[in-house]
Symmetry: C2
Subunit: 541 residues, 2 copies
């Protein structure tokens, strides 16, 4: 601290230079909500005071295990109070929490642990067979800590030669352990994202980023002071979308369901009176079915991961669930937008339903724009379509050890989501496409999904896929692959004329008129039933 | 930007290094609420889009006036859209907004303008006589800009030789002016606080501090997405407690009432359907009287500046006003705590009323503690009394050009509020005293106010004042100055025995038993009717 100088433009002073680090998120809840509960399945309940002590004990235990600032500590666990303790206790020491996606293949998990140079691995014994198989190939991992519920485990478990047991380490740890202050730009967390191609890529978040993501999230009023929170998106998935941090700052009752089972989720929902959750659409579908005799009124539910189908949203609304979308990616912290519908757009009908299913409006400080291929900003008119790019204080600053992919991600100083969308006058973002499903032609983007919808309007079309094929002059040109309806004529000119009519109506750009229409008996599909555009491009490209 | 290095503890990367600067607060509202309104008295209405353009025009105008980064621009105005534009447009250029307290004496205003080295002065013509008188004594002020409503002003106005007229400058300014990025620790605002003694002292806030104060404020959910906001605390008073920044980020309709008149405030409240305000207790009293035929239900009102009397709070509650306290100081940004009463303490009765009148609970990231004179933290038991100290990311880092006072303010790394209080198990802070009204004795603090209350219980006491007098052994000792009731005995031993009884009941410390009891005919009062403890200390100390 140096002397105050009123002439200096940059603030200086005599005061405590308050860093935005994760330990500061615990100040409010531990002092205001010490008796509030954190629930683990139907097994255990902790007060926030106990939780706070366990976080401090964990910090102390990490020191005694030899974990130092900057070391990476990987966690493989289901959603648990333990994981919440790790969300805080690991980064609060200055170490980096690596949240391992336990659904990846063994090979991918091995790759990510080695790539991140994980020094310590905290592992639920459910994953012991995996860990035992990988251990000989993890030369950088020095410390293995066992996590388990109660007295589970057994011979194989004991034979693993653990360096410690999570509960035993905490029991020996110091509940008054002092966490240091440090640079708010220190890395706090890292995890890996898998694209459709290539190796998993590591993203990373600093303390400052997590604190600011949390504050902005509180500002959106997704969490309310009397909520009971239960995640149904795994905690290894972008910090469960950051919600455990928000719930903790608010001092909410939190319910961690362990390994998801529909029956236990529904039971916890009822017994703990859950009011706030988040999940992907397929989990909502599963939950609605499993909870068909349960009163779901008063449940606020954020849907992300993929677009929410309107019918599913309507089904949830019919059950009294206040359901709405959120949007973000592993690279974006993740929250960029939430579809909280403002009063003037709430009509209780189709309009509101549509808004609930959109990506939503950017949260405070988050600058989301749509840009054309030349990175010129496009108007917020609800029609202009461009790539979704963004800036906010909590976006990953790159991919670990991958400068080329990092440069591509941040080309031109904006994070490129790879998504295509529109923004309307109210600031609502709608995702229309992935950029790889877009045909870039004549300096414009033509949505293959929109073009498929237009072609499907024609009575002769049974099924249709649109791909972009290379073209010297226009970059790419759209090609339509069509299965004609039984008995219908295979008339390419009629289909092109139909698209041209839509061009004249201003629905699509003139570049959308397909270069060719290919009639086929059947269109190739992927293993999950989606149009296999890769195969189509290989065949017709 | 340098290459990503996964080994470095400190985050590095390829991304946009997003600074926490005030311009970032405009991203969300201008893109999501462009048609929302900002209302100035019954005179003018602007959309947020227009407001945004005016902010950009102002930035451009400041450049053409020769205002550079680090220059101080002072504003003397009533609460107006102009002031809101200055809240953003001045700091967004990198200049420092000085909000001048127009209620100070001419001498104090002169002192503060010179002390802050104000280069430009934006002045409402209501203050022209003052400014004309001071101008010859403001050698550092180079630029004078006239602010006025409509075609007000006249000969004297024109004779002043203004360097520009606010509206004319904006008309010439560039609505697409580009505001630069810069270090988030650049000073954004400064203003002066007057203590009971000495010269006014300047506090200062950086961009980072204002952004974080705003985010934390959004997180407390004081503002709600559909609010209509009207300040009734002047904008020169610690940025109207920061609320204009919060209201703007939320995209709320905002109503600026100009110079406060009860009749206009009530009229604007009704016609604009105001739902959120803040004021000091005396203004609330005035408003309730002026609005006696008005339906006040649905009005959320934050009371600060001084403690809210329970009777006043009850009177407001009886009218349907959701009234609660906030607490802070010029030095604290200002918001430290707000008395939003959580569900489990809302009984609709006395308990809730008491909580609404307390200072409240710290907002997210704000660490408020009570400490004894040795700076040991005291328990949160609702009884232990100590000095209120705090840390948060938005506290002034000192006083301008006053290292000694800055060091005292931040002694031991905590900001000392000079207030004495308790914190209860729910984290609610209650202010009981100013530290200068406390008797420091035997290493403990004895509240003179509490001791006065105890002595007043005794039937022989008509009026009582307690002061601390110097003592070699105990530091200070309490002395009671008492006016006996007509006909009652002047029995010092009986009064000491009464206090001793309260000591034995655990109500006060044994150090509270008065060293002496002095009986007098009358107790000296200040001009505003308070006990004149300074005079009493001079006489009995």
């Amino acid at each position: 601290m140096s002397a105050a100088n009123p002439d200096a433009g940059v603030e200086q002073g005599f005061g405590y230079d308050y860093p935005l680090i994760i330990k500061q998120l615990l100040i409010t809840p531990l002092r205001q909500h010490a008796q509030q509960e954190i629930v683990y399945r139907d097994l255990q309940r902790f007060t926030y005071r106990q939780f706070g002590q366990r976080v401090h004990r964990l910090g102390s235990a990490l020191g005694s295990l030899g974990v130092a600032q900057g070391d990476v500590v990987a966690v493989l666990d289901w959603d648990s109070n333990r994981y919440l303790e790790c969300f805080f206790g690991i980064p609060m020491t200055g170490a980096v929490l690596m949240t391992v996606n336990v659904r990846l293949s063994a090979e991918q998990i091995l790759y990510t642990l080695n790539h991140a140079r994980a020094k310590a691995i905290f592992c639920n014994t459910d994953f012991l067979p995996l860990l035992a198989a990988l251990r000989p190939m993890l030369p950088q991992a020095k410390v293995f800590v066992r996590m388990r519920d109660g007295d589970a485990g057994g011979q194989q478990d004991d034979a693993f030669a653990w360096d410690g047991d999570y509960e035993a380490l905490l029991a020996q740890g110091d509940p008054a352990h002092v966490f240091p202050d440090f640079d708010e730009r220190m890395k706090a967390t890292t995890f890996y994202t898998t694209g459709t191609t290539g190796k998993p890529k590591g993203v990373y978040y600093s303390h400052r980023q997590i604190v600011l993501h949390t504050l902005s999230g509180l500002g959106t009023v997704v969490t309310r002071p009397d909520d009971v929170y239960m995640p149904i998106t795994p905690m290894f998935h972008v910090h469960a979308w950051g919600n455990p941090f928000n719930a903790t700052v608010r001092g909410l009752k939190q319910v961690y369901p362990g390994r998801y089972s529909p029956e236990l989720l529904v039971r916890l929902f009822v017994t703990e009176r859950v009011t706030l959750s988040h999940c992907v659409p397929t989990i909502l579908q599963m939950f609605l079915a499993a909870a068909k005799d349960v009163d779901l009124r008063g449940w606020r539910l954020i849907i992300g991961g993929s677009a929410m189908p309107r019918a599913l949203a309507q089904a949830a609304l019919d059950r009294g669930v206040d359901v709405f979308s959120g949007y973000g990616m592993s690279e974006t912290g993740p929250i960029a937008t939430v579809a909280l519908v403002p009063a003037q757009l709430r009509d209780g009908g189709e309009k509101e339903l549509a808004y609930r299913c959109r990506a939503g409006r950017p949260v405070p400080l988050c600058d989301v724009r749509i840009m054309d291929p030349q990175m010129r900003e496009l108007p917020q008119d609800g029609v202009s379509t461009g790539e979704v790019v963004m800036r906010s204080p909590w976006l990953t600053q790159g991919y670990l050890d991958d400068p080329e992919a990092s440069r591509t991600l941040w080309e031109g100083g904006w994070l490129h989501t790879g998504d295509i969308g529109t923004i309307d006058e109210h600031g609502f973002l709608t995702i229309t496409d992935r950029i790889k499903d877009v045909v870039k032609t004549g300096g414009e983007w033509v949505s293959s999904l929109q073009l498929e919808d237009i072609l499907a309007e024609h009575p002769s079309v049974g099924e249709v896929a649109v791909i972009g094929v290379h073209c010297e002059r226009w970059g790419e040109r759209p090609v339509a692959i069509v299965v004609a309806r039984p008995g219908a004529a295979e008339d390419a000119a009629a289909l092109r004329a139909h698209v041209m009519m839509r061009v004249e109506q201003g629905v699509v750009s003139k570049y959308a008129v397909p270069e060719r229409v290919e009639f086929v008996e059947v269109i190739a599909k992927t293993s999950v039933g989606k149009l296999d555009k890769k195969a189509l491009r290989a065949r017709f490209g």
